[in-house]
């Protein structure tokens, strides 16, 4: 096990590479999911504020 973590003396380089990769991928996931949650919350708020409740395509209904 100690051998495994030692990586033939290159532990720093090998583990730092995997750590950087993992950090960036996790960061991307967190940022993207957080962005989606925030935007969808904004959308819900706006849709609730719209008179007549949820509408998909704005207010073209009462035209003409």
């Amino acid at each position: 096990m100690a051998d495994f973590f030692h990586m033939g003396g290159y532990a720093f380089y090998v583990w730092a590479s995997y750590a950087v990769t993992a950090l960036v991928m996790v960061g991307l996931v967190v940022a993207s999911l957080r962005g989606r949650r925030r935007t969808e919350a904004q959308l819900r708020l706006l849709q609730e504020a719209m008179p007549g409740g949820r509408r998909r395509r704005g207010r073209d209904g009462n035209e003409a």
Partner: protein, 254 residues
């Protein structure tokens, strides 16, 4: 193809693909990591540092793959002016920039023990750095204009013009004398790499790609919702500015 350019159709398709992409990603990365770290041999020259390859090379491939798909989306956006193509390009570039960054950093971490230097201004490394700046430029241009459409057009032109860099990166190791080793997987005459190392490399590469697909769908979904939010805000502004009783001027607000 045009059928999926419709956002509603696209979302339906995305709903089907997304859970599968996530499941496949988790499975491939788990399996890939097992082979990359435990069940593959050390290199006879590079020792254990060869394991850096299993994150370095898939990141590089993905960075190029994302740029290529971004250039295709940008071309489609310029020709057909379809908003979904712009959204795909916009959702792609931060992911591409991230993987280019991973590639550069893991490359430095591999270069130090094997070449004796973190960085060298040779063709492959410099072209990869240019790719990183192209991604950053794309992201910056998108936000540089008050008029979002102008930003999208400028970013699309940059993405297309910058595409010349992709074949330069691929063939840089053949065209110039460089520290970087030449291609050993995608080359004439088949891969020159033992299957015990090719297997983890491929598992990680495909896993990275499905990860990109999943993440892209999440971000496209976000952008579609953001577009709806902008349209509704715009409608509200028009509503507020409209003199009472004037219902005639509503066309084109959404």
């Amino acid at each position: 193809m045009h059928r999926f350019a419709n956002p509603a159709q696209f979302l339906r398709l995305a709903n089907v693909i997304q859970p599968w992409a996530l499941a496949v990603t988790v499975a491939l990365l788990a399996l890939g990591l097992y082979f990359a770290l435990f069940a593959s041999p050390a290199d006879y020259q590079q020792g254990e540092t060869v394991r850096i390859m299993y994150v370095h090379v898939p990141s590089a491939w993905l960075a190029l793959f994302i740029y290529t798909s971004m250039a295709v989306a940008s071309g489609m956006a310029l020709v057909w002016k379809h908003p979904l193509a712009d959204i795909i390009a916009k959702a792609s570039s931060p992911i591409g920039a991230s993987f280019t960054f991973v590639c550069l950093l893991t490359g430095a971490l591999w270069g130090k023990p094997m070449w004796g230097t973190w960085w060298e201004w040779d063709a492959r490394l410099t072209a990869m750095l240019v790719l990183f700046f192209l991604y950053l430029g794309h992201m910056a241009l998108l936000n540089a204009f008050d008029d979002a459409t102008r930003g999208q057009r400028a970013a699309a032109v940059l993405a297309l013009a910058g595409f010349v860099n992709v074949p330069i990166i691929k063939f840089s190791v053949d065209w110039w004398n460089t520290l970087h080793q030449p291609a050993s997987v995608v080359k004439m005459g088949g891969p020159a790499i033992h299957s015990s190392m090719l297997l983890p490399l491929m598992l990680m590469a495909v896993g990275f790609t499905t990860f990109f697909v999943w993440l892209l769908l999440v971000r496209v979904r976000t952008e579609l919702a953001a577009a709806k939010v902008r349209a509704m805000r715009m409608a509200q502004v028009h509503e507020a500015a409209r003199p009472a009783g004037g219902a005639a001027e509503q066309r084109g607000t959404v």
